[in-house]
Structures are given as C-alpha cells and as structure tokens.
Symmetry: C2
Subunit: 130 residues, 2 copies
Amino acid sequence: MNNYSKQREAILDVMKENLVHPTAEEIYHFVLEKEPQISKSTVYRNINILVELGEIKKLNMTVGPDRYDYLYKEHSHAICEKCGNIFDFYDDFNKDKISKELLKQIGNNMDINSITIYGICEDCKSNNKK
Amino acid sequence: MNNYSKQREAILDVMKENLVHPTAEEIYHFVLEKEPQISKSTVYRNINILVELGEIKKLNMTVGPDRYDYLYKEHSHAICEKCGNIFDFYDDFNKDKISKELLKQIGNNMDINSITIYGICEDCKSNNKK
DNA sequence: ATCGAAATTAGGAATTATTCCTAATTTTAA
DNA sequence: TTAAAATTAGGAATAATTCCTAATTTCGAT
C-alpha cells in the first residue's frame, strides 16, 4: 500500500476543499466531478487508507453514517446526537493531563488521537418534540 | 412508546448484568437465554428506545458495530481505534468548564451527554505491524 | 526507456448492520 | 371487560461497507 494514484489524490483534494465533514457517499459524489469513472469501492478503500495514514480523521456518529474530516489543523469535535451537526472547536484542556489521568485510572498508556463531545445542540433542545 | 413488556425488561436486565459494552448482536444472544423466541428486530427496537430513555448509552465505534453501555454510574470512555477495546474512566475535567468553552467558541449552548477519547492503546502500540 | 513485480483500479457481488412491514398478541386504562 | 394503543415475531427491505477478480497502472531496478 502506498503507490501513487490519481484517484487517491483526487479524494484527498476533495477533503482539502470541503471542510464540511462529508460521509463516504458524499465524498464519492464530490470526487465523481474530478474522476468521472471512479468506483465507489475505490473511494471506500482509499478513505480507509487515508485514515490509516493519518491524513483524514473518521468521525464516529450517533446518527447516520460515519463522517470524515481533513486535519488542516488539530482540533476536537462536538457532535449533536439528535441532528448530527458537527462543531469544530479548539480545546485548551491538554492531552498530557488527560493522558496521565488515563494511565492512572486504567493502567494503560494510550496515545490520544482525539476527544469528542457528544450532546444535544441548542436548536434540538428548543425544537424538542418529546 | 412506553408500555411494559417482558422483552424490554429482559434486555435491560442483560445490560445490567453484562458491563462489557456488548454490540446489538451480542445483546440479542444474551437475551435469547432469557427469552428464547425474542426476535432480533425487537432487540434493536428496544435498544433504541432504551437509549432514548437514557437508560443505556450508545458508544460510537471506529472499528466494528456500535456498542452499548448500561449507565450504572456516570463515566467516560476511552476507545482504542485499532482493537476496539473500551476503557471506562471517571474524569475530573468537569462538564461545566467544557460547556462554557463550547459556548464561547461555537456559540451554541450544548447539553453534554458524554466525552469520548479515541486513541491507540498500549497493546496495539507495541504489537505495531506497520 | 523497458520489463516484471507489486499495487491499484472498476464493477459488481456479497456481507454486515439495521430498519421497516404486517398480522397477531399483549398491555393499559376506563 | 373491553376497545384502543403498544408491542411482538418473523421476515423482507434497505443502507453502508467490504470483498472478489481480471485488467490497468505504478514503481524500481536495470
């Protein structure tokens, strides 16, 4: 794994141009405009490779399919569990502190990749239908 | 939604007895021992209801299907993105502080349900095959 | 540049995870 | 006790993703 292909480059370009946390399906449609005969399996395979290479991040969603984010700058995410909206934010609670706390509590020295806050956003709270 | 049924009670019992973050499929198999003719759709439907009622929590996984956790006590999760292991831990960085930070940065007063740390655990770091 | 090995591709089949549908049964509450 | 509302089992349908294969592209050593 790691040979050049214009398909993989087109996918990464799409991720750089669209900072909107697209799903795999959405990435596929964006890429189709650059590479009209790319196949969906190629898109899925390369998304996984790019995640593994650390070029993009996978966002695990509560509602709907997973989403992806290009890491132009280190940041965290707050995700609404009702509407699925994703809010980027820049945290100041540092990883070192959490890292030490994890080691103390679970006895496992994890490398932290990201911190995600799950909750209910303001709009969903006021549009409360329950 | 909210009538008593022994099926739903059996699912909640399974969640209370198995603090191992099971998948929906695993919950189905555990429940089968109590309710041998329960159907998988009933399990899925009730899992979703119990999540909505706040009795159990859905854990969004990077690898594999989603997992569920009975909330015997408020806690956070650290999830290994490689092996899928879930570590429960009790954080001391309080929600209020993060809440205020979110409001300041994204201008949205979210209710925080949970904080999840995604990373790579010690075992996966040392068994590094890359 | 040329050639063989390794990696990647398109396209579609297969698989996995979950939701939806329907008629029958169970629960509720008046 | 009874009718309305909720829930169920079972299976079909859908959604999301991975797998398979033969053809093509890329790479690296000449």
